[in-house]
């Protein structure tokens, strides 16, 4: 059996009377792209929140690289190598594109805290070069890297956030609906980016509504409905699974 990066065991989470997660078990293998699909309100984002320290599960365990991460702070989990792209883009709107990408690179290099005031940010050549290279992949070149991040389109913000996560070379990348609310051509640009990442063999969990995206990037798919995983398997198995068809794919554009 190959290496387990993330192991979620019997995780439960309730909000008031609502059972958002119901005995969820999930194993993520190294190098795989694992998609989680399910209708709105199924608990997909809640599951990710339980992994990155935003929520603490009521019961159950989450181990990352063999280490229990329940109770750890958000920044500690990031420093361990689990990095997340949010459902609504979380970037630094007041900073430039370049600065947006440099910040996570600093986190990776200098850790959770460092008082580096003696070197100018403009002299951090290595980090600037790497950040510029990443932005070039998004088609952002030259002077455009100094534009304000806040003035970009929603699609560009999402891709920027993705690049911000990628520059940290995470061990596990969590993507929460990277193409939600995007027009077709915008979605295609993001899929291209995701495929490029896939070639690098990075382990990923991707939450997605768009079946086109899911079937073009995922190795394994789990279906979440009303807080419980009702099926797991390869894309072909999921496509052929009658329960899944009933619960979810029936109405969807397959």
């Amino acid at each position: 059996m190959s290496n387990l990066v993330l192991n979620i065991k019997s995780v439960n989470k309730t909000f008031g009377g609502l059972q958002a997660l119901n005995d969820v078990n999930l194993e993520i293998e190294e190098g795989k792209v694992h998609a989680i699909i399910g209708p709105n309100g199924a608990g997909k984002s809640t599951l990710l929140n339980c992994c990155i320290g935003r929520l603490i599960p009521d019961t159950g365990t989450v181990t990352f690289d063999g280490e229990n991460i329940i109770g750890k702070k958000a920044h500690e989990i990031n420093q361990l190598g689990m990095v997340r792209v949010f459902q609504t883009p979380e970037i630094f709107p007041d900073l430039s594109l370049l600065e947006n990408v440099m910040i996570p690179a600093f986190a990776k290099r200098d850790g959770a805290y460092s008082l580096n005031i003696f070197k100018a940010a403009a002299d951090e050549r290595e980090i600037i070069n790497e950040a510029e290279k990443m932005l070039n992949e998004l088609g952002i070149q030259g002077d455009h890297v100094h534009h304000h991040a806040g003035s970009m389109s929603r699609g560009d913000k999402r891709r920027l956030e993705l690049v911000m996560c990628l520059i940290q070379h995470p061990r596990l990348l969590l993507l929460d609906e990277p193409t939600a609310g995007m027009a077709r051509h915008d979605t295609n640009r993001t899929i291209e980016l995701l495929k490029k990442i896939k070639e690098r063999g990075m382990t990923k969990i991707i939450i997605e509504h768009d079946m086109h995206v899911v079937f073009s990037v995922a190795d394994t798919i789990s279906v979440l409905a009303q807080g419980a995983i009702i099926a797991s398997g390869t894309p072909d198995e999921i496509r052929g699974n009658p329960i899944v068809q009933d619960a979810y794919l029936g109405g969807a554009h397959l």
Binding site: I103, Y113, A122, E124, I128
Partner: protein
């Protein structure tokens, strides 16, 4: 932002030093070239520069920074009383004491953000102010304020010479710190303080503080422990305030609790916003304007106004005087209030934003091409 305005630190510092050190010359024509006011400009400049490191970079609005100003003053006066009239130990000890106080207050206040943080700092400031009047009287000398006296031990000075007649004055290795020499000493301290703030603004550390202001949630999920960053900024800005407080005592060796009052904390907020929050020079401009109004506008009376409008025919003259009189003299707060409102409404980025806009307009007139690259990281 600051990243793209990266230029040559040395050139900037040379120009800055020249401007500060020649203040007595270029401020004389507008009636502000006398040592008392010059010292105020420079000392409040230090206070505002430091405050800007907290408020400007992290966005945390403290309403209690005058506490550190007060602590700086008290510490400096105690250093004059107990150790020596030399100003160096005084400003050093004051800066350290203010840093310690900032660590304590920051540790508690930074458990909250936004309005709750502001309220906590305000509560600390008012508490300290009241304590200085009551239980802390042995240290602060209560309402009278802390002053020098003939009986002070001044152990270091006594080791070298016997006490002279009358009250000694503050000095730096024999140079008296009153009048212009006091101003130049404070000016040099300001230049050093500005250089340090420049380093912070342009460092990765400063960039991270701005990122915290922009989106603290993202910072946390990007792997940063934001609390120690905020603590560092809070302590540094507290130390700047302590330094400024010490210099107040250097130029006039007494310390009173009113220095810690919330109005003093509010003043530095106004200065920073007026000039331009988060910009390098904005706070200094804000200080200049507010202190100028406070000292020059408040000194204008009806007689000066009559003199000013004397070229107008009689009834127009008295009309103009009647209209303008409420804005000068005692009414200088009114002028300042109007100015502040106009700036906040039309230029939320302060005077620096106004200057930026003018600069851009000029550039666009100069050539119709795209504006040239901002000279970034060659």
């Amino acid at each position: 932002m600051n990243f793209s305005e990266t230029g040559n630190n040395l050139k900037l510092m040379l120009i800055f030093s020249a401007v500060i050190l020649t203040m007595p010359l270029w401020l004389a024509p507008i009636g502000a070239g006398y040592p008392d006011l010059l010292q105020k400009f420079v000392i409040f400049g230090i206070f505002a520069i430091g405050y800007n490191i907290l408020f400007g970079l992290t966005g945390y609005l403290s309403f209690g920074h005058a506490v550190f100003l007060g602590i700086g003053s008290y510490t400096a006066v105690w250093s004059f009383k107990l150790l020596t009239m030399n100003v160096l130990p005084a400003i050093l000890l004051a800066t350290i004491m203010a840093g310690v106080a900032a660590a304590l207050i920051g540790y508690i206040s930074l458990r909250r953000s936004g309005i709750y943080f502001s309220i906590l700092t305000l509560a600390f400031a008012q508490m300290s102010y009241n304590l200085a009047y009551s239980v802390l009287t042995p240290i602060t000398n209560g309402e009278t304020g802390l002053q020098l006296s003939q009986q002070d031990p001044r152990i270091i000075d006594r080791a070298f010479s016997t006490a002279g007649e009358g009250l000694p004055s503050t000095e730096l290795f024999g140079i008296s710190m009153s009048g212009y020499s006091g101003f130049y000493f404070c000016a040099v301290v300001l230049i050093i303080a500005f250089f340090f703030s420049l380093k912070i603004f342009r460092s990765p550390f400063g960039m991270k503080l701005q990122a915290i202001k922009s989106n603290q949630t993202r910072m946390k999920y990007t792997g940063f422990n934001t609390r120690p960053y905020l603590m560092t900024a809070f302590i540094i800005s507290g130390m700047y305030a302590g330094l400024a407080g010490a210099l107040m005592a250097v130029t006039d060796p007494l310390a009173g609790a009113e220095r810690m009052q919330w109005t003093a904390s509010g003043e530095v907020v106004l200065m920073t916003i007026l000039g331009g929050v988060g910009t390098l020079f904005g706070p200094l401009l804000g200080v200049g304007i507010i202190k100028y109004f406070e000292n020059i506008f408040s000194a204008i009376n009806e007689e000066t106004l009559h003199h000013l409008f004397s070229f107008l025919p009689g009834f127009l003259e008295s009309l103009m005087v009647t209209i303008t009189a409420p804005f000068v003299g005692e009414g200088w707060h009114l002028t300042l209030g109007v100015l502040f409102m106009v700036i906040v409404i039309f230029l939320p980025g302060g005077i620096m934003e106004g200057m930026d806009r003018i600069k851009k307009r000029f550039r666009h007139q100069g050539d119709d091409n795209d504006p040239p690259g901002e000279g970034v990281d060659q």
